[in-house]
């Protein structure tokens, strides 16, 4: 865990902002490697464990298994988001309510299962044989490993029981119903072949296959990966690497990585964003505008991941985006250079106002209040999500004075300055607000503005306590600074690691994080580069015996 996070944990929250940030933060996570060990031999820090599939993963895996022709009518409440991500293995849990949903889905899917397609049984074949081969195939894909003899026998019992009274399809359905509620379907294991008391435990080939597949595509392994696991080939790093590269080329990897970026950037709720229609009356902000903002973000991220190579430069550094005619006329106005086609087309944007994701309307509208901009929200976003500074919320007991509204005389910036003046507030806000102020030319729905009804906007900003300290004006200049920051790269590695490991960063991870950061800086590559690094490190295929 980065030292500043530990410091914040150990200290009263307020103190996290009173220490001089630069001293406590440093350029990135550092942790001396164990004596005598090189950077490549950082040990496994994740213990042997099980991970419940997130609801997102569950639905993907289910869809893979049953095909597109079986309706999935029951929806399941979303998982909690811990630090932005919905896959944290320590937070995902089950209770009677969640189980009831899993059971509902299993029963509905089993009832609608296309038995003819998934469990064909031509004349001349014994029903029991057909059932056995269905169980073998179906469970292999559901569990990501072959069935054990015991499991096969117990499934056969279920088949026999139902088939005897209701016929062959009923027997198949009952087996499916059981498989879809088994913990082997609902969880991923990271256990290795046997428990040991010390030393790293090697994951089984099938566990490695699932690790790789879930990391890159958010789904269970495909047949090719399972075949490689059968053949024992996944023990070879070069095979893992070529498989990682193969999976990264699939369309679902694109969708999966886009999901990561959206969670990291805090954009998951863009599709239900509301604004006060007193401040942003139609046609300025409508559900249609919001949906087009979302479309733009999706297209932009896909483009950054694909043609852009998944680099931070592609995410933050480009002055091009996918603009619809409506967004061009209402939000972008003069910021679009050149003609806009129908639909969302890639156009050049005025680089003085627009550069990268931080200046897209969808991003700016989410990181704002319903009525105005929010220098605090935007500043906190940059600090927490891009620089990994664990700026706390106002701690308990601090009186929060009301924030005045901007008018003909005073700007949002001036009001915020007054609002956060007390020493209790200033300790953190002196770091937060100057970043947020840099965005003040971009209003609450992402339009460029020169005033907010009163004095001219002052969008001079400043970064404090980072490795790229100094003044800037507007998101375009801020982006330039962030792209030059080693802290930003370290922070990105940190978030991707948290997401890939499905847990909080903990003490001892520093070695691996440093290792990955240094390799990544050398390669100058994109997200794919980092993921391949993750998958080819020894940590990926081993677990600590003791947690």
């Amino acid at each position: 865990m980065p030292r500043f996070v530990l410091a914040a944990l150990a200290a009263v929250a307020l103190q996290a902002c009173t220490v001089t940030a630069k001293d406590s933060i440093g350029p990135g996570p550092t942790q001396p490697p164990p004596p005598g060990a090189g950077p490549a031999s950082c040990g496994a820090t994740t213990g042997r464990r099980v991970r419940r599939l997130s609801i997102t993963e569950y639905l993907t895996v289910m869809r893979d298994l049953i095909g597109d022709d079986v309706p999935l009518l029951v929806s399941i409440p979303p998982d909690p988001r811990a630090g932005g991500f919905d896959n944290n293995a320590d937070k995902l849990s089950v209770n009677a309510g969640v189980i009831a949903h899993f059971t509902d889905v299993a029963e509905q899917v089993a009832a609608a299962l296309p038995v003819d397609r998934l469990a064909p049984c031509g004349s001349g074949r014994a029903a029991g044989d057909c059932a056995r081969s269905f169980a073998t195939t179906f469970a292999r894909r559901a569990y990501g490993r072959p069935l054990s003899a015991d499991e096969a026998a117990r499934l056969q019992n279920l088949f026999d029981d139902a088939a005897a009274t209701d016929g062959y399809p009923a027997g198949i359905r009952l087996m499916a119903e059981a498989i879809l509620q088994s913990p082997h379907f609902l969880y991923r294991t990271e256990l290795g072949r046997q428990a040991q008391n010390h030393g790293p435990v090697a994951l089984s080939p099938y566990e490695v296959a699932s690790q790789l597949s879930f990391l890159v595509t958010g789904a269970r392994p495909d047949d090719r990966l399972l075949d490689l696991a059968d053949a024992g080939k996944l023990a070879f790093p070069d095979v893992l690497k070529s498989e990682a590269l193969r999976l990264l080329e699939t369309p679902r990897a694109r969708v999966h990585l886009r999901r990561f970026l959206i969670a990291w950037l805090g954009l998951e709720d863009l599709d239900r964003l509301t604004k006060s229609n007193e401040f942003f009356p139609p046609p300025d902000f409508t559900p249609v505008i919001r949906d087009e903002m979302k479309l733009e973000i999706d297209r932009f991220l896909d483009h950054a991941l694909g043609e852009g190579g998944g680099t931070l430069d592609a995410l933050f550094g480009t002055s091009e985006s996918f603009v619809t005619p409506l967004l061009a006329s209402i939000i972008y106005k003069g910021d679009v250079l050149g003609p806009v086609g129908s639909g969302a087309t890639l156009v050049k944007l005025d680089p003085r106002h627009r550069r990268g994701i931080l200046s897209l309307p969808g991003f700016l509208a989410v990181h704002a209040t319903v009525a105005r901009t929010s220098p605090v929200d935007r500043g906190v976003f940059v600090l927490r999500r891009l620089l990994c500074q664990d700026i706390p919320d106002p701690p308990p007991g601090v009186f929060i004075p009301p924030l005045a509204s901007p008018d003909r005389v005073r700007t949002t910036r001036q009001n915020q300055d007054d609002h956060a003046r007390s020493p209790n507030c200033a300790a953190c806000h002196v770091l937060i607000d100057p970043i947020g102020f840099g965005f003040e030319h971009m209003d609450g729905i992402g339009r460029f503005r020169t005033n907010e009804g009163g004095p001219a906007i002052d969008s001079s900003g400043r970064l404090n306590g980072t490795d790229v300290d100094g003044p800037f004006a507007g998101p375009a200049e801020l982006t330039g600074k962030l792209l030059a920051s080693r802290m930003v790269r370290a922070c990105f590695v940190n978030h991707l690691w948290r997401w890939s490991e499905a847990r909080d960063v903990k003490e001892g991870d520093g070695c691996a994080l440093d290792d990955h950061l240094n390799n990544w800086l050398r390669s100058d590559g994109g997200i794919a580069d980092l993921l391949v690094q993750f998958t080819t490190s020894a940590r990926f295929t081993t677990r600590k015996a003791q947690p």
Binding site: A16, G47, R48, V50, L59, L72, L73, V74, S75, P77, P78, D79, P80, A82, G83, K91, S93, N95, A96, G97, V98, I99, A100, D104, A111, A112, R154, L155, L158, A162, T165, R173, A178, Q181, S182, P183, H184, A195, A263, G266, D269, R272, S276, N277, V370, A371, R384, D390, I391, P392, D393, P394, P396, V398, F399, P401, P402, L403, D504, P547
Partner: protein, 441 residues
Amino acid sequence: MSRRFARRELLKTAGASLLVPRFLRQAFAAPAELPPRMVLLMQANGTHQASFWPDADFRSPILAPLLDDPLLASRTTIIKGVKLEADGPGNEHDRGFHSFWTGVRSVGTPTDSWGGGPSIDQILKDRLAPRVPYPTLNCGVQAADIGPKNGHRTSFSYMQAQKQVPTETDPVRLYAALFRGLDQDSADPIRAARRLRQRKSVMDFVSADIGALAERLPPEERRKLDLHATAVREMEARLGATIAPPPGARCMSPAIAGQPIDARNEANVPVLMDLMIDLVAQATICNITRFVTFSFGYGGNQWLFKWLGINVDWHADVAHKDTGADPVAAQRMTTINLWHAKYVARLARAMAAVPEGDGSVLDGSLLVWSNENATGFHGLENIPVVLLGRAGGRLKQPGRVVDVGVQSNHRVATSLLGLMGVNAAGFGSRPDCGPVPGIMS
């Protein structure tokens, strides 16, 4: 994932061969011995204190929906002086959600803090094990689908440290889970019996898998599967169970049988509130569930309340401005709190309408309307706590304000345990704190 589906489709699917009701209504059975029902309702963003506390005539602008109705006023107890004493990471909104009803130090970081232990509803379930299909139920309106910043302010019900009970926010989904099959008593009994046996054999299969997998796990990890095993056992106990609603209860929820509703759209909040409150009422009245936790939105709620003509961010532009000098903010806070009170009254009235024993279902129950904060600007002293009902006679002399001086949430929770029939010397991190004086008869 499909977020919407029509009940029609659900029932159509339910006609498929594997789908018969999980439990059946047994209208004339005498209710089994059950503890009082409890519904904990959590509101966000504090109250306008001056408009909340009743005057000498037991009237208050915010509590009018309760206190202007003699039936409800005589069953209303208001505890004055409750202080949320919490420890660990998180600000006041976080603490309202993860500490008020767990009573233990939170875990996590200042920006990502979580409950550090089980909440009172889960403790009651473990201690009293009521034999109903869903011993506990956690639901609310737009509590769960919110920004990542506040992922932990989505549920105040915890099974263990860090392990939230997910909050069900979709009334159609909730309806399906609670009531499906209650209108199908005439299902072919032979088929139903066979299906029941098959379901049990599937549960046995799943339980065997869980047991075998658990054996391979380190102790810390085993707790995850323990929760899973418990949930499966509860599921199995539901199979073929019958419910015994009080005579005269209508145990269906006709309001749901319409179009799908987008549970994430803020414009739907008033409709969602009606549906959810009615479902909670039906589920408790009909003895389908016993201990309910309900969230009026997520912690630090930012609803615009367009339907009340407010149209600005409740958290930032109303609550935080209600510091005494802003009459508009004060009026808005009052209006919003009054709106919440109407739903509490709606729930109480539904329960009061069904006779049970010598009184009504409300008399055999305890509704607890509490708030994550005391004031709009994060105050934690004088948190408004309203009790409704008589907890089966255990609640002493309802129809008054009980001014307790300054008492911590731990003591309130200890009192609630007592009112439910669980003897406890304290709660959470204060095992010896004792109850709030003057509440139990």
